[in-house]
C-alpha cells in the first residue's frame, strides 16, 4: 500500500520531490477505482489496486520507495511529460498515439474491449454493426472511444463520450444508451454491483495496459521493462493479477509473446482490414493532424456557441424574472427567489449539472444537450438576476418619480423607463458573464456533450501535445468572444447615458 500524496499537497508543502532519489514517483487516478487504483476503504489516505502493487514491484526493483501522486486519468500523460511523476500507471492504454509520443513500457496486461447491452437486448445487439443509429457510450479519450468514433463513420452508430466509467452503465440501464463499449475489467467490475446488463464475451478489439513515461525517459523505461519481464517470468505479476481477480487465459499468451520479443500491435481485432490504428494522429505532421481535426473542432465550436447563446438567452429571461420578482413581488415570492439565488450561487455548477442529468434521471430523463442548456441557464440566471436587480436599483429615484407623476403604472415604468435604463447599466457585466459562460460551457462534457474544450482534450490526447490544440481552441474561443465584446462596446457608446 502506498501513501497518497497529491500534487497540490506537495506544492504547498514546498517539498522538492525531485531532490529525493530514494523515492519512485508514480501517477495514477484514484477515481479510476478498483481494481486499478482506489483509496483504501480502511484508510482513505492510502491507495490500493493492482497498479499500486505493480508500482511497488517496480519501485522495489529500482531500490526505491514508491510515492503516489493523484492525477486525473485524462492528464496522466501530460503530468508525466512535465515531470510530476516518473511513470503513469492507472489502466493506461496501449495506443499508437501513446507509443509515438511517449516512452511506453511493455504491455503488462491484456484486456478486451467488450460490448455490454441491456439483458433484454442481448439477442438483438451482439456487435457494433447491430447498433446502427443507436447510442453507444464509453470513457472519452480511450481506445474504446476511438473505436466508437470510427464505428460512427463506418457503421452509423452514435458515439457518446463519458468522463467516467460508471455513468455509461447507469445510462444504459435507464435507456439513454443502447450499449457500452469498455474494457472487460471495467465491465466485470460494474456487473458485480449493477445488475440488468450482459456483456458479450467476444471482444470488439484487444489492447493492453502499459506504463507511460516522459519521452526522454527511455533509459528508465528500459529498466522498468526488464523488471516487468522478470516479474512475468517468476510469477509475481501473475500473483498480483490473481490477488485482484483479473487473471485470465489472455495473460499467459501475452506474457509469452512479450518474453519471446514478438511484435505486439497496440490495438488488435478491430478494423484490421482497413488498417485501423496504423495511421496515428501522433505520427502525422501537426498540420496534417490539425486539418484532420478541423471539422470536429468546427462542430464542437458550434455546439459551444449554440449551447452558450441558448443558455444565455434563457438565463437573461429568467434573471429578469427573478430580479423583478425580488423587487416587486410578494414577500413570499421575494423570499423564495432569494433562496433560489443563494442555493444556486452557493453550490458548484458541476454538482447542479450532475443532479439535472443523473440525479433526477429516474423521474425526468432529460437529453444531454437539454440538461446542459438548462443547467447552465438555471445557474447563470441566478447570477444575472443579481446584476439586473442592482441595475434596477441603480436607476435614479427621480426617474421613477417623474414616471409616477406622469401617470405610468409600475409595470409601464419598469417596461418603458426603469428596465431600459437598467439594461444599459447591466450591459457590461452581462457581456462579462456571457464570455464566462462560453468558457463554463466546457463543464457540460460531464454530461456527454462534446463541446470545444472536450474536443481539444481529445485532440491533445491523441496528438500527445497541447500546443496546437490549445492554440486552436483559444483562437476559436476568442473568435466567439471578441465580436461579442465589440458589439457590447458599440452599444455602450451608443447608449452612453
Amino acid at each position: 500500500m502506498v501513501r497518497l500524496v497529491t500534487i497540490a499537497a506537495l506544492t504547498w508543502a514546498g517539498i522538492n520531490v525531485s531532490a529525493q532519489p530514494s523515492t519512485f514517483r508514480w501517477a495514477g487516478d484514484p477515481e479510476g477505482g478498483a481494481p486499478f487504483v482506489e483509496a483504501d476503504p480502511a484508510d482513505p489516505t492510502l491507495v490500493v489496486g493492482f497498479d499500486v502493487d505493480i508500482a511497488e514491484l517496480i519501485a522495489r526493483g529500482l531500490g526505491r520507495e514508491p510515492q503516489f501522486l493523484a492525477v486525473a486519468f485524462a492528464s496522466i500523460d501530460q503530468s508525466v511529460a512535465r515531470g510530476d511523476a516518473e511513470i503513469g500507471l492507472s489502466g493506461v492504454e496501449d495506443t499508437p498515439a501513446r507509443r509515438a509520443a511517449y516512452a511506453v513500457t511493455i504491455p503488462y496486461y491484456q484486456f478486451r474491449e467488450v460490448l455490454s447491452v441491456r439483458s433484454g437486448d442481448a439477442g438483438q445487439f451482439r456487435t457494433l454493426a447491430d447498433l446502427r443509429g443507436r447510442r453507444v457510450g464509453t470513457l472519452g479519450g480511450t481506445v474504446a472511444y476511438e473505436i466508437l468514433l470510427d464505428a460512427e463513420r463506418q457503421q452509423g452508430i452514435v458515439a457518446v463520450s463519458y468522463e467516467d466509467d460508471v455513468h455509461p452503465y447507469s445510462d444504459l440501464l435507464i435507456g439513454r444508451l443502447d450499449a457500452v463499449l469498455l474494457d472487460n475489467v471495467l465491465a466485470e467490475r460494474r456487473s458485480r454491483t449493477t445488475p440488468g446488463f450482459v456483456t458479450h464475451p467476444d471482444p470488439v478489439a484487444v489492447s493492453h495496459y502499459v506504463g507511460v513515461l516522459a519521452p526522454g525517459n527511455r533509459e528508465l523505461r528500459d529498466r522498468i521493462d526488464g523488471l516487468l519481464r522478470q516479474a512475468m517470468r517468476d510469477g509475481r505479476l501473475e500473483a498480483i493479477f490473481r490477488k485482484w481477480k483479473i487473471w485470465n487465459a489472455d495473460q499467459p499468451q501475452l506474457f509469452a509473446r512479450v518474453l519471446e520479443g514478438a511484435p505486439i500491435p497496440p490495438v488488435a481485432g478491430y478494423g484490421e482490414d482497413r488498417s485501423y490504428g496504423s495511421e496515428s494522429i501522433a505520427t502525422m505532421s501537426k498540420w496534417h493532424a490539425t486539418r484532420r481535426y478541423l471539422p470536429a473542432f468546427a462542430r464542437a465550436a458550434l455546439v459551444t456557441l449554440i449551447l452558450s447563446c441558448g443558455a444565455m438567452l434563457a438565463a437573461v429571461g429568467l434573471g429578469i424574472g427573478i430580479a423583478t420578482g425580488r423587487l416587486y413581488g410578494h414577500r413570499v415570492t421575494r423570499a423564495a427567489l432569494a433562496g433560489y439565488v443563494e442555493l444556486i450561487r452557493g453550490t458548484p455548477l458541476l454538482l447542479q449539472l450532475f443532479v439535472l442529468y443523473y440525479g433526477i434521471a429516474e423521474a425526468i430523463r432529460l437529453p444531454a444537450f437539454v440538461a446542459a442548456l438548462l443547467g447552465l441557464a438555471l445557474n447563470y440566471a441566478a447570477y444575472e438576476s443579481e446584476i439586473y436587480r442592482s441595475a434596477l436599483l441603480a436607476v435614479p429615484i427621480g426617474q421613477l418619480e417623474a414616471s409616477k407623476t406622469l401617470g405610468f403604472s409600475e409595470f409601464q415604468t419598469l417596461r418603458l423607463i426603469r428596465g431600459p435604463q437598467a439594461f444599459r447599466v447591466a450591459l457590461a457585466p452581462m457581456t462579462n458573464d456571457f464570455v464566462a459562460l462560453l468558457k463554463d460551457s466546457s463543464l457540460v462534457s460531464v454530461l456527454t456533450v462534446v463541446e470545444l474544450t472536450t474536443q481539444t482534450r481529445i485532440f491533445a490526447t491523441n496528438l500527445g501535445s497541447w500546443v496546437v490544440p490549445g492554440i486552436l481552441c483559444a483562437a476559436l474561443y476568442l473568435a466567439m468572444s471578441l465580436p461579442l465584446a465589440a458589439i457590447a462596446r458599440r452599444l455602450e457608446r451608443r447608449w452612453r447615458i
Partner: protein, 225 residues
C-alpha cells in the same frame, strides 16, 4: 371661490418626528399663478410632493379637481390615476428620461398612459416644444441639453398630458436673470390659458413681478402675503 381646482385644508407635514409645516391652507382656481416662498429646508418641495401624491401627509385634506386625498390615508390606485391627470410636476432637476430624446420624453405619457395615437402625440409634442422655444432640440438627448433647455422640455413633458394644475419646484434655480424673465413670461402665458400654477422659489423679485398670489412659509406656518 368658484371653479376651485386646488384646495388645501389644514394640512400638516411631519418629517422625522418634527412638524415641518402645519395648517397649510390654500384655495386656487384657473389662472392663478401662485408662488410659494420660503427658506431652504422649510418644506416647499415637500408640499409640492404631497400635492402630487409622491409623499404622504399627516393631517388635513388636499383636493385637486374631483380627487380628494386625506392625511395618513394611502390613496387607492384609481384616485392616484385621476390625481395625475390633473396635476403635473416639474422637478427642480428636471428628471428627463435619460434614454429618450426630448421629443420622446414629451410623447411618452400621452401615448402609453392616455392612449393618444403616436402621430397625434408627436404633433402635439412638437407644438409644445415650439411654444416653449426648444423645437430645434427635439431630437437631442437630455445630456445634450443646457439647464434652461432641459427645464423647458420638462415643462413640455408635464403639459403634454394637459393637467389643469402645474407644480414647479425651484424653476429659477439654474437660470440667469434674462432667462428668468423669459420663463416668467412663459408661465404667465400658461396661466392666461386657464392653467393653475404653484411655483416654489427663493426669488422674491420673480414672485413680485409675475405671481398673482404669494404664499410664504414662516416658521412652520404658511401665510398668504
Amino acid at each position: 371661490m368658484e371653479n376651485l381646482v386646488l384646495s388645501i385644508r389644514d394640512v400638516e407635514l411631519v418629517r422625522g418626528g418634527r412638524v415641518l409645516v402645519s395648517n397649510i391652507r390654500l384655495e386656487a382656481g384657473p389662472g392663478d399663478f401662485i408662488v410659494l416662498r420660503g427658506p431652504s429646508g422649510s418644506g416647499k418641495t415637500t408640499i409640492l410632493r404631497a400635492i402630487a401624491g409622491l409623499d404622504p401627509f399627516d393631517r388635513g385634506i388636499i383636493a385637486v379637481a374631483d380627487v380628494r386625498l386625506e392625511g395618513r390615508r394611502t390613496p387607492d390606485r384609481e384616485a392616484l390615476h385621476r390625481l395625475r391627470r390633473n396635476v403635473g410636476l416639474v422637478f427642480q432637476f428636471h428628471c428627463l428620461f435619460e434614454h429618450m430624446t426630448a421629443l420622446q420624453n414629451v410623447c411618452l405619457a400621452p401615448v402609453h398612459v392616455y392612449r393618444t395615437p403616436q402621430e397625434s402625440a408627436e404633433r402635439s409634442a412638437r407644438a409644445l416644444l415650439t411654444q416653449l422655444g426648444v423645437d430645434s432640440r427635439a431630437n437631442a438627448w437630455p445630456r445634450e441639453l443646457s439647464g434652461g433647455e432641459a427645464q423647458r422640455v420638462a415643462i413640455a413633458r408635464a403639459l403634454a398630458v394637459d393637467p389643469p394644475v402645474l407644480l414647479m419646484d425651484e424653476p429659477m434655480a439654474s437660470l440667469d436673470p434674462s432667462r428668468r424673465a423669459e420663463l416668467g413670461a412663459l408661465l404667465q402665458r400658461l396661466t392666461a390659458a386657464g392653467r393653475t400654477l404653484l411655483v416654489t422659489t427663493h426669488d422674491e423679485t420673480f414672485a413680485q413681478q409675475f405671481a398673482t398670489r404669494i404664499l410664504a412659509i414662516e416658521g412652520s406656518t404658511v401665510r398668504e402675503l
